[in-house]
């Protein structure tokens, strides 16, 4: 575990290292560089980050680019073919209509959002209408009918108790 005081040299080095991990470059001020030379913790950390940055920068240059010209050629040939075959030609594996209408644009986002809102509103309306119809049906079925004997047996003590309770209040 690295021992350091907040605001001390090691802490400042750590902040520079943190910044370097974002900026991609580590260039310490002279005072901190001198500290890094003396401090084993800081020197190890700085070396590690510098090595990583250097490896990241040199990796792309070390990649072999031999597949690139072939890929570029294939793309350019496909684009040329789509033009020479003018209005009917197609990209490889694409339907003719797709290539024949290169000015096809994506649908505007606001229209998509509007359609979603309309769909949700329609679903809510249908659900509310259905529930209202069901409620009317239930109301119509129970209107004017007496509760059954079993219901009356359970409800009557409660009704008596409520009436007794509010009799004194009146």
């Amino acid at each position: 575990m690295r021992p350091y005081v907040i605001g001390g040299a090691c802490d400042r080095v750590r902040r520079w290292v943190d910044a370097a991990m974002i900026e991609g470059e580590l260039s310490l001020p002279a005072a901190l560089a001198a500290h890094v030379v003396r401090c084993p913790h800081c020197s190890a950390e700085v070396r590690e980050v510098e090595t990583l940055l250097q490896r990241l920068r040199s990796l792309p240059a070390s990649l072999d680019l031999s597949p690139v010209p072939a890929a570029v050629d294939r793309v350019l040939q496909a684009t040329a073919a789509s033009l020479t075959a003018s209005h009917g030609a197609a990209f490889a594996g694409e339907p003719a209509t797709a290539a024949a209408s290169p000015k096809r644009r994506r649908e505007p986002q606001w229209r998509w959002v509007l359609r979603q809102v309309a769909a949700v509103a329609a679903v809510i309306l249908i659900a509310a209408g259905g529930l209202t119809l069901v409620s009317f049906g239930i109301h119509g079925a129970v209107k004017g009918s007496e509760p059954g004997r079993i219901v009356e047996r359970w409800i009557s003590p409660l009704r008596d108790w409520t009436q007794a309770l509010f009799e004194n209040v009146r």
Partner: protein
């Protein structure tokens, strides 16, 4: 009409040919595999040509192409992870796609990162883009780019340290 089409194709060819090496390196960084990277480059090129008319500002061309390539790389990565359930893996090609200097350990370590983190690191170090440029390409705030870079570098350091320790043992 034909003249417009030709001019359009020439403009696209100039942009794509110029950007292709950088795009390919970016694809290798994101996918970790030269074969898939070449496929992604080709697919992205065809897609870009199809929608080239939607590019109104020519200055935005590189960022626009980068965005198309990144999305294509994500698609290729998803397809590959569906096809090979063992997950992402570096294919060390015997077909001359690598050089002795290629830092495979680092390329493998990059696969530890999430696709968004990997893309951020690749754009920063492979394409040398600035933080505002990365934010533009990835359509995220600059703060997000910074936090992704910091988290990615911490993850990379940990991954490389542990792999080096394993190598020593």
């Amino acid at each position: 009409m034909a003249r417009t089409d030709t001019a359009r194709r020439e403009a696209f060819a100039a942009l794509f040919s110029q950007m292709a090496p950088r795009l390919y390196r970016t694809a290798v960084g994101i996918l970790g595999n030269p074969h898939d990277a070449a496929d992604a480059l080709q697919e992205a090129g065809l897609k870009a040509f199809r929608y080239f008319d939607s590019l109104t500002d020519p200055v935005a061309g590189p960022a626009w192409l980068n965005r198309i390539l990144i999305n294509t790389c994500y698609d290729v990565g998803r397809r590959r992870s569906r096809a090979i359930p063992t997950g992402l893996g570096i294919v060390e090609s015997p077909g001359g796609y690598t050089t002795p200097e290629t830092d495979w350990a680092l390329l493998v370590a990059l696969q530890v990162l999430s696709p968004e983190q990997r893309t951020t690191v690749v754009l920063r170090f492979f394409q040398d883009l600035t933080i505002p440029q990365i934010a533009q390409v990835m359509a995220v705030p600059e703060g997000t780019v910074k936090s992704r870079l910091h988290a990615s570098m911490a993850k990379l350091r940990a991954a490389l340290t542990s792999s080096e320790k394993e190598g020593v043992q």
